[in-house]
C-alpha cells in the first residue's frame, strides 16, 4: 500500500499526454513525486478511471458453480472494473443485513475490486413486503441501491412506498421494468423474428408501461429512480421526456443491447437468450443515441453467469442471461466510439464517473488528485479475440465467442495496487 510510483508516458481519454503519481493508494500531484517514487513507463497506454458496474450477478451465496465473488471479481478486474455491484438474487436472497455484509466482506477479503452489494427491495424479491432496507444501509455494506432485479416491483403501491422510503438515506430504487402478466412464459422480443420462430413474444410495451408508471410515481414522490437495462426505443423516449420534465431518474443500458439484435435468435442458440431480450436494429440505434445524448446515464453489464448445462439445451429450457464483465468496455467502444457517436472520454463517463455518482461509490470514477488510485490502463489501438479459454468468469456463456473486439485492458489498479495485468 505504501508503494509510491510515477507513471510516465500515458495518455488521457482525449489522447493528451498524461502522468500519474500514486502514493499511499491515492493520486498525488505529479510535481510532488520525489526521487523515491518508482518510475514506470506507461508505453503510451491510455489511463482511465477504473470502470464501475452497477449491475453484476455474482451468484454467491447459493450458486457457486456459476460464479463466486472471487471469480466474478477476477473477471471484473480483467475487464477494467474497480467496482461492481452485486445483485441480490442469490440464495439466500440479499434482503437482510447479514447477507449483504457477507457479500461485502467476501469482496473485501479478495481485495481485487470493491464489491458493493445491492439489497432486495422486497422480502424474498416477492414484491409484497419491503425488506429492511434501512438495516442494509446502516450495515457495514452501506447499501444504497436496492433492486428486485430479475423480478419487477410490479405492485404500484409497493413501488411508491419503496421510492419514498429510501429517501431517508439517499437510496436508489433500481427497477427491472417488466410487466409479469404481459411476459408470462416469454422467450424473446415480440416481433417479426418471434413470429417466424414460434417463440413466445416479449412486447416492448411490457417494459415501457412499467417505466412510464415509475416515472410518474417518482415525479409524485421525488425520490431517486434508476431504470435497469433499458432495451427499447420507446423506453429511451420516455426517459428523455422525464428528464426534460425534471423527474429524477437515471437509466442504464447493457453492452449487449447496444450491439446485438433479436435476429440472432434464429440460430435457436440460447447463448442469445437474455432478460430483457435482445430487440431490433431500430432499438439498438435508439439506445446508442440515448447514451450519446446523455438520456441513458450509464452502461452496466448485467453480467449473468450460467453453467454450461443451463445453456446447452433447447431455447425454452435455457436460463436467461449472458456474461459481460470482460467484454463490456470493448463492446461498448465498438458500438459507440468506433461508430463515431461518442468520444472515449464520454464513454468512460458513462462506464465509470456516472455509475460511481449514482451509487455514491466514493473513491471511484475519477483520476483527480487526492482520490483513491482506482484506475485502468487500456490499449485503444489493440484488438483481441474472445475465446472460451481466456474467459476468467467461471461461466462461459458469452455471446461474443470468436468475435474480434477493439481495446485491450492492460492493467487494473485498486487503491494503487495492481490487481490485474494482461
Amino acid at each position: 500500500m505504501s508503494r509510491s510510483y510515477l507513471f510516465k508516458n500515458l495518455k488521457d481519454a482525449a489522447g493528451k499526454p498524461l502522468e500519474l503519481a500514486v502514493s499511499n493508494g491515492r493520486f498525488v500531484k505529479v510535481d510532488s513525486a520525489s526521487a523515491n517514487f518508482e518510475l514506470i513507463d506507461g508505453k503510451g497506454l491510455t489511463a482511465i478511471p477504473g470502470l464501475v458496474d452497477l449491475h453484476t450477478h455474482l451468484r454467491e451465496p447459493g450458486k457457486e458453480d456459476a460464479e463466486t465473488v472471487l471469480s466474478g471479481s477476477t473477471a471484473a478486474v480483467a475487464g477494467g472494473f474497480t467496482a461492481i455491484s452485486a445483485m441480490p438474487n442469490t440464495s439466500p436472497i440479499a434482503d437482510t443485513a447479514g447477507v449483504v455484509e457477507q457479500v461485502f466482506r467476501l469482496g473485501r477479503s479478495h481485495d481485487l475490486c470493491d464489491v458493493f452489494p445491492i439489497g432486495a427491495v422486497t422480502l424474498g424479491q416477492q414484491g409484497k413486503i419491503l425488506s429492511e432496507m434501512g438495516a442494509m444501509h446502516s450495515s457495514e455494506a452501506k447499501v444504497r441501491i436496492f433492486s428486485d432485479d430479475g423480478h419487477c416491483v410490479w405492485d404500484s403501491l409497493v413501488m411508491r412506498r419503496a421510492l419514498e422510503y429510501v429517501k431517508a438515506f439517499d437510496g436508489v430504487i433500481a427497477q427491472h421494468a417488466q410487466d409479469p402478466r404481459l411476459t408470462h412464459g416469454s422467450q424473446m422480443n415480440e416481433g417479426e423474428v418471434s413470429a417466424a420462430l414460434g417463440l413466445k413474444g416479449w412486447p416492448a410495451a411490457a417494459e415501457e408501461s412499467i417505466i412510464a408508471r415509475d416515472l410518474l410515481l417518482n415525479e409524485h414522490v421525488g425520490s431517486r429512480l434508476h431504470i435497469c437495462h433499458l432495451t427499447t426505443a420507446g423506453g429511451v423516449e420516455l426517459v428523455r421526456w422525464a428528464k426534460k420534465r425534471g423527474i429524477q431518474v437515471t437509466a442504464e443500458v447493457t453492452p449487449h443491447h447496444l450491439l446485438l439484435t433479436d435476429e440472432l435468435a434464429r440460430s435457436y442458440d440460447p447463448v442469445y437468450k437474455v432478460n430483457p431480450p435482445l430487440r431490433t436494429e431500430r432499438d439498438v440505434m435508439a439506445l446508442r443515441e440515448g447514451v450519446a445524448d446523455g438520456t441513458i446515464d450509464v452502461i452496466a453489464t448485467d453480467h449473468a453467469p450460467h453453467p454450461a448445462e443451463d445453456k446447452d439445451c433447447e431455447w425454452a429450457a435455457a436460463s436467461f442471461g449472458m456474461i459481460g464483465l470482460e467484454t463490456a468496455l470493448s463492446v461498448s467502444y465498438k458500438a459507440l466510439v468506433d461508430s463515431g457517436l461518442m468520444k472515449l472520454g464520454d464513454l468512460i463517463e458513462r462506464m465509470s464517473t456516472a455509475p460511481a455518482r449514482i451509487g455514491r461509490y466514493e473513491g471511484h470514477g475519477s483520476l483527480a488528485i487526492g482520490n483513491e488510485a482506482n484506475f485502468t490502463l487500456v490499449d485503444i489501438d489493440a484488438t483481441w479475440r474472445v475465446e472460451t479459454l481466456g474467459i476468467r468468469s467461471k461461466s462461459k456463456n458469452s455471446p461474443y465467442l470468436g468475435l474480434e473486439l477493439p481495446v485491450t485492458v492492460e492493467s487494473t489498479y485498486l487503491r494503487g495496487k495492481e490487481v490485474f495485468s494482461r
Partner: protein
C-alpha cells in the same frame, strides 16, 4: 436434399416439388399388394417423441417400415423440460445406439434445430413438430393433398386461394404451410381473431382477415386449425361458443363455399368447435386423404434424406 428436414424455409421450391413427386411415386408402389421397398434395409430410424402424438408417430413408423428400416420408438414425454434427462443426453444415447435418422417431436420451438446443429449426433434429423414453430412434413402432406385434389398430382399450386383459419399464433402447421404454399405459388389468406395472430403477421406476405364470412366463395382450399381449449383461460377469446360462431366452419359457411373447394384439418379435430361434424364429414372434406398421404410424404422425406447414402 440436405441432411436434415427442420423447416420448410430450408427447402427450395424444386426440392419441395421433388418431395411431392417422390411421394406420388411411392404412393403408387404402396398401392400394390406388397407394400414394402427394400431401400432403407438395415438402417435405424428413431421416433423421438417428447410430446404425445400417436397419429404422427404411427404415420412415421408406417413410412419407415414400408421402406424396410428398423424403427425404434422412444417416448420421452416431458423429460427434458422437466429437468430430467436433457435433450443432449438423449441425443448422445441415440448416437451410441447408431441411429441413422431421428424423427423428433418436441414441445420446445427450435428443439429439432438444436439436435441438428450441435455435435451431439451424426444422423439425419426430421422435425415432426417443434413447439409452436414448424411441422414441415404436415405442410408437405397438405400440399400433396391439395395437388392431388386440385392439380391432378403434378406441378405447383400457382394461383390457388388457400384460407388458413384459426389459432395461427400457436400453430406450427400454419407456419410451415404459409412458407410452403407461398413457395409453391398459392395465395394464402389467414383468418383468425386478432389475438390469435402474431403481432408481426404482416411480415409473412399473406392476406390477413378477421372475418370468416366475407369472400367465402373465393377460396379453393379452407384449412381449419385446431384450437386448444385452454387458450380461453389466457383471454385469447371469450368462450368456445363465441369462437365457434365467429371462426368455426359450420353448415352455413360450408354451403357458401364454391363447389370445387376442399376442406382440410391437420387433426385431431375438435368437432363442434373449429369444425362442425357436417363439415368434417362432407364431400368437400379431404381430411382422411391427408392422413393417408402423410405416410407417402414421410416415406419420400425418409427416402430422400437417408436413401441416397
Amino acid at each position: 436434399m440436405k441432411r436434415h428436414l427442420l423447416s420448410i424455409a430450408d427447402l427450395s421450391k424444386d426440392e419441395a416439388l421433388n418431395v411431392l413427386d417422390t411421394a406420388a411415386e411411392l404412393a403408387r408402389i404402396t398401392e400394390t399388394p406388397v407394400k414394402k421397398l427394400p431401400t432403407l434395409r438395415g438402417r435405424t430410424i428413431v421416433n423421438l417423441f417428447f410430446e404425445d402424438s400417436t397419429r404422427t408417430r404411427i404415420s412415421f413408423e408406417a413410412a419407415a417400415k414400408r421402406l424396410s428400416a428398423d424403427v425404434i420408438n422412444f417416448s420421452a414425454r416431458g423429460s427434458s423440460l422437466s429437468k430430467g434427462e436433457s435433450l443432449k443426453d438423449t441425443a448422445l444415447t441415440l448416437q451410441a445406439m447408431g441411429a441413422d435418422g431421428v424423427v423428433i417431436r418436441h414441445p420446445a420451438s427450435g428443439a429439432a434445430h438444436r439436435l441438428a446443429s450441435q455435435e451431439w449426433m451424426s444422423g439425419s434429423v426430421i422435425n415432426a413438430g417443434d413447439g409452436t414453430h414448424e411441422h414441415p412434413t404436415q405442410a408437405l402432406l397438405d400440399a400433396f393433398t391439395i395437388r392431388e385434389n386440385l392439380r391432378e398430382s403434378t406441378g405447383d399450386l400457382t394461383d390457388l386461394n388457400v384460407a388458413i383459419v384459426g389459432d395461427v399464433l400457436h400453430s406450427r402447421v400454419a407456419r410451415s404451410n404459409v412458407l410452403l404454399l407461398k413457395k409453391l405459388g398459392a395465395r394464402v389468406t389467414l383468418i383468425a381473431p386478432p389475438t390469435l395472430l402474431p403481432v408481426a403477421v404482416n411480415s409473412w406476405g399473406c392476406n390477413v382477415k378477421y372475418d370468416f364470412d366475407s369472400d367465402l366463395k373465393t377460396y379453393d382450399v379452407v384449412m381449419m386449425l385446431r384450437v386448444q381449449r385452454e387458450r380461453m383461460e389466457d383471454a385469447f377469446f371469450p368462450s368456445e361458443r363465441e369462437y365457434a360462431r365467429r371462426y368455426g366452419l359450420n353448415a352455413a359457411r360450408l354451403s357458401q363455399l364454391n363447389s370445387g373447394c376442399i376442406v382440410m384439418h391437420p387433426g385431431p379435430m375438435n368437432r363442434g368447435l373449429e369444425i362442425s361434424a357436417d363439415s368434417a364429414d362432407s364431400d368437400k372434406s379431404v381430411i382422411v386423404d391427408q392422413v393417408k398421404n402423410g405416410v407417402a410424404v414421410r416415406m419420400a422425406a425418409l427416402y430422400l434424406l437417408l436413401g441416397g447414402e
